[in-house]
Amino acid sequence: MGIINQVKIGQAEAIALLVTVMSTKLFLTYPLIIVSHGGSAAWQIVIISGLVTLVFFWLILKYIERFPDRSFPETAEYISGPYFGGLLVMLLLLPWLFELTMTFRRFGEMIVIIALPETSIGLIMLIFFCGAGLAAYLGLSTIARACHLVFPFTLGAALLIVAFSYSNWDTDWLFPIFGNGPWITIKEGVIQSSAFYELSFIYALPLVFYAHQIKKIGYTSIIVTTVILTTMVLAYLLVFPAVVGEEPYLPLYNMARSVYLGRFIQRIEAIFLLFWVISGYLWVSVGVYGLCHILKDWLKLPDHRPLILPALIIIFALAFIPQSLPDAVLTVQEYFYEIGFIAIFGLPPLLLLLAVLLGKGGKNNVEK
């Protein structure tokens, strides 16, 4: 297709990008959701869901290897015809849009709670919208480089919270060891693998990566993310007992609030806001970019940029549908996290299955 030459991002940047977007949810409700499901065994849920995601990724990899040179909409339409293929693309896009909208909203709420309690959320989200839109406009290589550049700092800030809260640690909170019961832990571990759903970026936009690096990018980023998430959830559990840990909207914020390093250094949570906001921006810009890019591939447009503004306006409008913060959180928790992983991780295996059944792709594709 006569498209502006495809932007590619290198391995380190790709890993930084994926890890950033997958672990940004830490700053939002993720630890809360995990702890509310797993109790004192929440950290096991994270590990299990990481392992489950690795399995999913193995399937995704098989799919990508079969269709190395095609974008997702192309593959979907190639395998299952334009109509069913279109349906599949919608199946990818709608959860993406949904999560984007909700996260957008939750970031807005986060800023209202942490920093600007009396500012209208509309304004905050408008500014968010401008920043993220600009980044999406500048393109993926800029975003990926920003991720690569910012990642050490965000990670450092998160680890700093862990280190600072050391004096509040109590290993007792990790018991009972099986939390709400091993079965619940395993079940939730599988379900909560939808927390890794940003991994769908890999198969939705396979062409932005160098094909032979995808394997390493995927596995590394899943493992790194699992380690980060586990560390943070573990630290959170060490500071707050599971019963209390289920309560706050922003667990890491509460952790940062509880830091007391003497009379001079306390209540330093606002400093961490700097890093959280920047990773929020990165998350949203990656989401918007991905959304527009898939749409571009689907509609066979030459450039994604004209789609950004309309997409942002739609997201902006949708983000205000939930009436309140608990709505925005609980909706996500109930609908998205419960079924999201099927919709998102189910697509590549489905396509793979269809392709095998119909005998498309694979070797004959390569020969061609």
Binding site: G10, Q11, T142, R145, L273, L274, V277
Partner: protein
């Protein structure tokens, strides 16, 4: 595309820049391994480049004058500078373009070209060659631009007195050649056939000699205009290291660089910019080092400029830089020859504009602006400390006032209680909100700075100190600002002067105001939004095909000279992003004496497989 337009206008983002098609690209392999430092494979592109060494109308040694003159002309034709060169007096139809055989005609044309009876600077001296028979001749030069003693001794004297030793047979077609070869002891002479070349030469200080019966003129190099001698660098001072700086004279500047780099591969090319005033622009680079694509791009950009006059290198900078609307400079301007030479050895290209003591170096990347040549002259531990301090200064310059505003008005819980209460107490009598207070002080600081530059002579620095101290003290005493704010503003001001590059310091200082506003409106959220947008814009910038944050993002192989300056013997590679033809500065084992068996001679720096 409204977004693009707005982003363009508001944020200095210049769209996908016009130079998007030019990229000093890494190989695909290198891009893939964006973080792996092991890769030292370089673009082996066109090892067999042909560098046309072009000099404007100046012959080398007298032996090959004919050829040299020819190439000089040829070089100028494709440059496009010839068009419209003639002063408006020379109406194309009225006067012939080429030098005539008849001396009198030439004299008239010259008189017309230079507005002779009116223009008192141009001197026409008529004389006669003492040959047999005598040949009438005249010479043209501009009083003040040419060295009269030189003309007397090495042009008029030999031509008028010494030519009679030869027994000539009248005017022959080779009179000029003869004269040129045997009677003109001037070191740079050139044959000219066009009047516009004569004009250019004469205007730049040469003396043109016309002979009767000759269809060309001879220009002899007699530049003798006054210029400032080499002096200490004014804007980039160092404690340890060379002190001299560039001057206004182009030739002296190239000589200053050449004096440091003794390499036959150091090329100086001349280009001319400006329709009305042919500004000489020199490009210097090391032929065996600098990526030819970069040199081509520099030349392409300079040749593509259509303007009438370059006042200073800053004007040229604006004309050739990638993102003119950005707050950050993308071209290094320096007045230190040592810095230029070390940059040339990194694979950068120097652009020297005549009449400017500031040399430009491209590509200019963010970290180049935070480096000073002194970092390398002091011991390496001190060098690291200098850089860390400077990086810290950058953050303070951009963020300190904004942080103060954000914390004091949005996040009071962060301030230790004692401090908060004393801030609140200090503000007890202050009538303004914090933002007004800080803007007031910042603006007066800027005022003091600007006035300190403008105030003549010795009062300048005094004014700075007096202005800040007294103003601050009085403002506090009058309860217009709180004392803590004076500290903030003073520290910010100090930090901004710790940034070695003037343009970069200016950019950062301006950004500070943006961040103050953001902080005043939205607290830390505003600051982090600003940081994010700044980061994205910086990441998107390129300077002559190199990403602006190059060694950091995209990460390239380390040259061990970024924030931490490694000891000299560990800086083995040149910056990877420059895509130099020779990547190594020195072999792995650069200190041969540390091993016993270092008997065999080591390769010099040009030898890429040193070990």
């Amino acid at each position: 595309m409204q977004l693009k337009y707005w982003a363009n206008k508001i944020l200095g983002y210049n769209g996908p820049p016009a130079s998007m098609d030019f990229e000093l690209a890494e190989t695909e392999e290198e891009q893939q391994s964006a973080s792996q430092t092991g890769q030292e494979e370089n673009v082996p592109a066109s090892k067999s480049r042909q560098h046309k060494i072009r000099k404007p109308r100046k012959t080398g040694p007298a032996g090959d004058k004919g050829d040299a003159g020819g190439t000089g002309d040829a070089a100028n034709q494709p440059g496009g500078t010839g068009a419209g060169d003639n002063p408006e007096q020379s109406k194309p139809g009225a006067a012939p373009q080429e030098i005539q055989v008849a001396l009198e005609t030439n004299r008239k044309i010259i008189a017309r070209l230079f507005n002779l009876p009116i223009n008192k600077d141009v001197i026409v001296r008529e004389f006669t060659l003492s040959t047999e028979p005598p040949v009438p001749a005249f010479l043209v030069f501009i009083d003040g631009m040419a060295d009269t003693k030189l003309i007397n001794n090495s042009i008029l004297q030999p031509l008028m007195l010494l030519t009679n030793l030869e027994s000539g047979q009248g005017i022959r077609p080779d009179t000029c050649t003869n004269v040129l070869q045997r009677h003109l002891p001037s070191n740079q002479v050139e044959k000219l056939t066009l009047f516009k070349d004569v004009v250019t030469q004469v205007l730049s200080g040469a003396t043109a000699i016309f002979f009767d019966g000759c269809s060309y003129a001879i220009s002899a190099e007699t530049k003798g205009f006054p210029f400032r001698g080499v002096d200490t660098a004014r804007t980039e001072q160092v404690v340890q290291g060379p002190q001299e700086g560039f001057v206004e004279n182009l030739r002296s500047n190239t000589a200053l660089v050449r004096r440091i780099i003794h390499s036959e591969q150091l090329i100086t090319e001349y280009l001319e910019v400006g329709a009305r005033n042919n500004n000489n622009v020199a490009i210097m680079y090391l032929a065996d080092l600098t990526n030819p694509a970069l040199v081509q791009e520099v030349k392409r950009r300079i040749r593509g400029i259509k303007t009438d006059y370059l006042a200073e290198s800053g004007v040229l900078e604006e004309l050739i830089e990638d993102h003119p609307l950005s707050l950050m400079p993308q071209i290094i301007k320096t007045e230190r020859p040592d810095r230029v030479s070390s940059m040339l050895l990194e694979g950068k290209v120097a652009i020297i504009v005549d009449n400017t003591p500031f040399v430009m170096l491209v590509p200019g990347l963010l970290f180049d602006f935070l480096h000073s040549s002194e970092d390398h002259y002091v011991r390496f531990s001190n060098g690291i400390w200098l850089r860390v301090i400077r990086l810290f200064a950058v953050f303070l310059t951009i963020l300190l006032p904004a942080f103060y505003v954000a914390i004091a008005t949005f996040h009071q819980e962060m301030i230790p209680t004692d401090l908060l209460l004393s801030i609140a107490a200090a503000r007890e009598m202050v009538p303004f909100p914090t933002i007004v207070e800080i803007l007031l002080m910042e603006l007066s600081f800027e005022l003091v700075r600007e006035a300190g530059v403008r105030v003549p002579g010795i009062i300048g620095p005094t004014l700075g100190i007096v202005g800040t101290l007294i103003l601050g003290q009085a403002a506090v005493a009058a309860s217009i600002v709180s004392p803590i704010l004076i500290i903030i503003v003073a520290v910010t001001g100090l930090s901004s002067y710790a940034i070695p590059n003037y343009a970069a310091a200016f950019g950062f200082r301006f950004m500070r105001f943006v961040f103050i506003f953001l902080a005043a409106a939205l607290g830390f959220f505003g600051i982090s939004s600003g940081l994010f947008i700044m980061l994205c814009l910086l990441l998107n910038m390129k300077s002559f095909g190199v990403p602006y944050l190059a060694p950091v993002s995209p990460k390239t192989a380390s040259s061990h000279d970024l924030i931490i300056r490694f000891p000299a013997w560990q800086q083995e590679n040149r910056p990877d992003y420059q895509q130099t033809l020779d990547t190594r500065r020195q072999p792995e084992l650069s200190r041969g004496w540390v091993t016993r068996q270092s008997a065999k001679p080591r390769g010099n720096k040009a030898n890429s497989e040193g070990d």
